[in-house]
């Protein structure tokens, strides 16, 4: 089995194997410790594993559907994330139109630009044009109360939930010599490394975590978890070099960059949740909270990964 299909299938088998193992462990733990479902940690673990199966299946289907599948999947993720984010922002009735424009015009346009591969526009559409024009729509409603906060929060929501997230499908448009037709594996690489890093940081933190990195933001993020998780995820990323255009050392370097970006993304989003007094961004994914709770690290690492690869490897 060679070529993109072969590598993709091999990767799928690997992920499937890990999930089978996780489900097995979850089932055994439940049988041994609390068969009646009375242990919340085990229940949460099993809910998470079930959700992981769903996510892996969804990604696999999107990948098989090709470019359209990936763009539509991430457009939907952006929609769900923006819906969670805007629920917590400062709003007044005057923001009704600007927010409607954000959901029903800006989001589809950004993903359409990614779909038609217009790099020159999708990379500046939200940071430049929306940044300048959306506040105009806002102030034309004539309500100045908290207007600085309102336009800032809406703009940041769009940057995080739409602009940054759209850099995942944008990876499909990078042209790398000798890597034609395999870009979807770059997305798989990014997501596998970032998500494993999250899981491993959590696991290392639970096992040996003692010293909190930022106790005021999140008591569960410890130095032990961070170092252990980032190191293991970087090693796994290096071991996945064969699905990427990178050498093992380059794959390790990129893994390090994206796991660190992912960690700080999680930290920033925790700080915002703390400020707004919520534990999770939403409730759509059982055991995980909302979409942003699962995507925060992907969102922060995607543009950085995209630009590193584009600068050093891409010919376009």
């Amino acid at each position: 089995m060679t070529g993109p299909r072969g590598d993709f299938l091999l990767l799928l088998c690997g992920i499937g194997g890990i999930l089978v193992l996780a489900s097995l462990i979850g089932t055994i733990l439940k049988r041994r410790i609390a068969p009646d479902g009375s242990n919340p940690t085990i229940e949460n673990l099993n809910a998470r594993i079930t959700a992981w199966w769903g996510m892996a299946a969804l990604l696999a289907v999107a990948f098989l559907a090709g470019r359209a599948g990936v763009v539509i999947l991430f457009a939907f993720c952006s929609f769900a994330a923006l819906r969670e984010f805007m629920t917590l922002t400062t709003k007044r009735v005057a923001d009704h139109w600007p927010i409607a424009v954000a959901f029903f015009i800006i989001l589809p346009v950004q993903y359409y630009l990614v779909w038609i591969d217009w790099y020159g526009l999708y990379s500046i559409f939200i940071p430049v044009y929306v940044f300048l024009l959306l506040p105009v729509v806002t102030v034309l409603q004539g309500d100045t109360k908290n207007v600085f906060i309102r336009i800032s929060e809406t703009q940041w929501a769009l940057m995080i939930c739409v602009y940054c997230a759209s850099h995942v499908p944008a990876l499909l448009s990078l042209r790398i010599e000798g890597y034609e037709g395999r870009n979807v594996l770059l997305i798989a690489f990014l997501i596998v490394v970032v998500q494993l890093s999250d899981v491993l940081q959590y696991t290392w933190g639970k096992l040996i975590g003692k010293h909190a990195v930022a106790p005021a933001l999140s008591p569960s993020k410890t130095w032990e978890g961070l170092i252990g998780g980032v190191a293991t995820a970087t090693l796994i990323g290096a071991a996945l070099w064969w699905i990427t255009p990178f050498t093992p050392v380059q794959a390790a370097g990129l893994s390090l960059a994206i796991t660190l970006a992912g960690f700080f993304g999680g930290l920033v989003m925790s700080a915002i949740k703390r400020d707004r007094g919520v534990k999770d961004w939403g409730h759509l994914i059982a055991g995980h909270g909302g979409f942003i709770d699962r995507l925060d690290s992907v969102v922060f690492s995607a543009p950085i990964f995209f630009h590193l690869v584009r600068y050093f490897w891409s010919s376009v």
Binding site: M86, K91, H96, A100, F103, N146, I149
Partner: protein, 214 residues
Amino acid sequence: MKPFLARLTGGAIILFARFITAVRAIWDGADPVPRQRVYFANHASNGDTILIWTVLPTAMRARTRPVAAADYWLTSPIRRFIGQDVLNAVLIDRRVEQRDHSPMDLILEAVDDGASLIIFPEGGRNTTETSLLPFKSGIYNIASARPQVDLVPVWIENLNSVMPKGKIIPIPLLCTVTFGAPIHVEEGETREAFLTRAQAAVLALAPKTEEAEI
């Protein structure tokens, strides 16, 4: 044909409500079991009925009828179809001079048929800054006429931001519907005392932390 179309439309409405609000039910004192109930809720948006209707489990939804304004739902063929065939609403005419039935007769008839009800005791939509307007007497009349029925307080959160008065396009934001512990009219309780208690029961389900003032 018509029942099939009504089911299809109902499904589409539920899908749309979930797409916009990702609405979630919180059963905080009442369980989602098929007992006969009167759900009474705060009323800030035209979509309130739809949201409660959406979060009810399918079997319970089929036996739950919103009490709604005939003078709104009978004014066009589409509204008539949604009000009568999809929601199976108990339609009350708010214009006293147009009535051929006493509203309470219609409502009690539905209760005696075994239906659960959705009502908004504030009377109309609340467009003020206060969280809840004083309750009208209807809920007391139902509760004292049919004391065996559970009255379940309901708080709908955030839908008024999704679709403020006068706006046509809903904006997607997360909403929740919280169901509280059932109440009944107590021995010798006055109308005023009961209405105050019912109002407090709904308010108690509103999120404790108000949005931080900046």
